[in-house]
């Protein structure tokens, strides 16, 4: 019984973390059709931002929830202004550029922080479920994911930027049609996407640790999740994360991590084969 409960928590956690690492990419891809291969490095930078902040005496919660997103968001805007904006409508070129960027960021972080950075350990201690102990931080991650997605929902639903975002998701020229100036929208969008990635990276830092090359562990997974989800940023990310997270975690628990991974990937293939436009290409089309 308590094992079931524990497993449930772990499944929720898997879903939450998958959604967290994917949603930033989903926004950037969904709205700008930019495949950001430096996504993993944005997560990595979020982790470092949080670590540096805490080691400079900033409260860990502020570091994770405020400092990291802001820092990475700013970096995102800079990247958009200096590189991405020259490449809109050229998906392939942005791939090369962001791949280069990811290498650059890995190199830079190594040069600055070296590769033995003191991490931050998970706060909130642990709690008992029947015979099992598990980390309280797990629940925190789940909560953050829920809140984040909630905020995105609200933003899309009720803010002007959200309106534009939804418009752009339906058709790319919409932003222009709505009489806003696309460059600014794009810069902002990219910034927000990056900020969310930063948040995710920071939130997961105490769990997975942070080192310059950790990005690769994330990028493929989140990319697959986003495409699997389809055009709609929110419902897409959520549904795909839910599906993949559950499969992955249960398979892992039943067998081995390898098999869990393979099961996730296989699921992705089947999904795309069945729904060539991703989940939201078929279901809740009018989703956000």
């Amino acid at each position: 019984m308590d094992l079931i409960a524990l497993l449930a928590i772990q499944v929720l956690y898997a879903i939450a973390s998958l959604a967290l690492i994917s949603v930033g990419l989903a926004i950037i891809f969904g709205m700008m059709r930019v495949i950001n291969l430096a996504h993993g490095e944005f997560l990595m930078l979020g982790g470092y931002a949080a670590i540096v902040a805490t080691s400079n005496g900033i409260n860990i919660w502020i570091a994770i929830l405020a400092v990291a997103p802001v820092v990475v968001g700013i970096i995102g805007v800079i990247v958009e202004r200096t590189i991405i904006r020259f490449l809109y409508g050229r998906m392939i070129d942005t791939m090369l550029a962001t791949w280069g960027l990811s290498l650059f960021l890995v190199g830079l972080t190594t040069a600055i922080f070296g590769n033995t950075t003191v991490g931050i350990s998970a706060p909130l201690g642990s709690f008992q479920i029947g015979a099992y102990r598990t980390s309280g931080y797990t629940l925190f991650v789940i909560a953050v994911a829920a809140v984040t997605l909630g905020c995105i929902f609200a933003a899309l639903r009720w803010t002007r930027l959200g309106l534009i975002a939804r418009g752009t998701m339906q058709n790319a020229d919409m932003a222009a049609a709505l009489g806003v100036n696309p460059p600014r929208v794009y810069a902002v969008t990219f910034g927000i996407g990056a900020a969310l990635s930063g948040l995710a990276g920071a939130v997961l830092a105490p769990v997975s640790g942070v080192f310059p090359t950790i990005g690769v562990a994330y990028v493929a997974k989140s990319f697959i999740t986003v495409i699997g989800g389809g055009a709609a940023i929110l419902s897409g990310t959520v549904s795909a994360s839910a599906l993949f997270g559950t499969i992955n975690q249960i398979a892992t628990f039943a067998t081995t991590p390898v098999f869990g991974e393979v099961a996730l990937l296989a699921a992705a293939i089947v999904l795309i084969r069945l729904l060539p436009q991703g989940i939201t290409g078929r279901f809740f089309r009018r989703g956000l």
Binding site: R33, I35, L37, I83, F86, L87, G89, R90, M91, I92, D93, T94, M95, L96, A97, W99, G100, L101, S102, L103, F104, L105, V106, G107, L108, T110, A111, V216, V219, A220, F223, I224, I227, G228, T256, V258, E261, V262, L265, A266, A268, I269, I272, R273, P276, Q277, G278
Partner: protein
């Protein structure tokens, strides 16, 4: 001067240069250079396989390394079990081709297109990576060949002349073989592209719906293209396994897949010379940066010797300054110099890429 003539002049030139390169290099260069060039030739074949699928077939494939790796592993495993290299070589081409055909059927006849193709192919290669990577235990073996998991398979026996196991192809022979293979691949593809099939394939890349309305079945053509690309990649994999006498799962990894794409973009999609140039250029660069590292703690020295940092900057700068890729840009510059009739003619040779965003 009409397009055909120009075309043949170009091909002839490429042929002469290629053969001269093949014959002269071992006589002029030092052995280590020859060995480095060997691997570059092999990787260039891999680059060509993607150049065909993506640059001409318009199939965005993030998983070219899957076929490359399959080729390498197939050769290794077959070699340990059979001994004479003829059959393993053929298997290393046939198996990836077959796999590509299956995957292609699954995708194209499922009407999967553009970026979704990318994700599926990427996913497939990652599945292969994860699976092969977890075969370290002694229980994982095919015949006498242990898969070796993360460590991969070392000490793979080299190719031998058909029939006689003893007559192993030596280092110099390996260079001749790889270069000849590259030249053959290049001219083979040029012929393919000049053929009916090739021109229809390019038509489908340009406008799939129109091709369909003319009565061509895009799925079939894509499937064929994809299969050929898979076979080429597998062949390259086989040569790779020969060159280093080892293969390990990183061959399926994200880094490897991305690298192939980078080669093609850098050199220029929609050309054949481009990816070759891009492949050799990028590889040479990362090798050159990796060699002669400063020892010691001087921070700046370390930054300047920081390979990912430098490579990253170069790639980014490249996209911004040479967006079309090396060869097309140079080509345009060259053509800008000659008269417009020739320009028109030449654009016919290498169909322009149409960016599908």
């Amino acid at each position: 001067m009409n397009p055909r003539v120009l075309n043949f002049l170009g091909l002839g030139l490429a042929g002469v240069v290629g053969i001269a390169f093949m014959i002269l290099t071992p006589r002029l260069a030092e052995l280590d250079t020859v060995l480095d060039l060997t691997i570059y030739m092999i990787m260039a074949i891999l680059a060509l396989s993607l150049a065909l699928i993506w640059g001409y077939g318009g199939i965005l494939c993030f998983g070219q390394s899957a076929f490359f790796g399959l080729g390498a592993y197939t050769y290794a495993i077959a070699m340990f079990n059979i001994g004479d290299s003829t059959v393993p070589l053929l298997l290393a081409i046939a198996l990836p081709a077959g796999f590509a055909a299956l995957l292609g059927y699954f995708m194209f006849y499922g009407r999967i297109s553009d970026v979704y193709l990318g994700v599926i192919t990427l996913t497939v290669t990652l599945i292969l990576f994860n699976s092969v990577n977890s075969t370290a235990g002694p229980e994982f073996h095919i015949g006498v060949a242990r898969l070796g998991g993360f460590n991969g398979i070392p000490g793979i026996p080299p190719l031998n002349f058909p029939g006689s196991k003893a007559a192993v192809i030596d280092l110099e022979g390996m260079f001749y073989l790889s270069t000849a293979a590259l030249l053959a691949t290049y001219f083979g593809l040029r012929m393919l592209l000049a053929s009916r099939f090739g021109r229809i394939m390019v038509g489908i890349r340009e406008n799939e719906r129109r091709a369909e309305l003319l009565g061509y079945d895009p799925r079939a053509y894509k499937l064929a293209t994809f299969t050929i690309g898979g076979a080429l990649a597998g062949f390259a994999g086989c040569l790779f396994a020969n060159w280093g006498n080892f293969v390990s799962p990183t061959i399926f990894g994200l880094a490897q897949s991305a690298q192939i794409i980078i080669w093609v973009i850098v050199g220029g999609r929609g050309t054949l010379i481009g990816p070759i140039v891009g492949c050799i250029g990028v590889q040479w660069l990362s090798a050159a940066l990796g060699a002669n590292q400063p020892s010691g703690s001087d921070w700046w020295a370390r930054v300047l010797a920081n390979v990912p940092l430098i490579l990253g900057i170069i790639l980014v700068a490249f996209v911004l300054l040479v967006p079309k890729g090396l060869v097309p840009t140079l080509g345009e510059f060259g053509l800008w110099l000659v008269r417009s009739r020739v320009r028109r003619a030449a654009t016919g040779l290498e169909p322009k890429q149409a960016e599908k965003g």
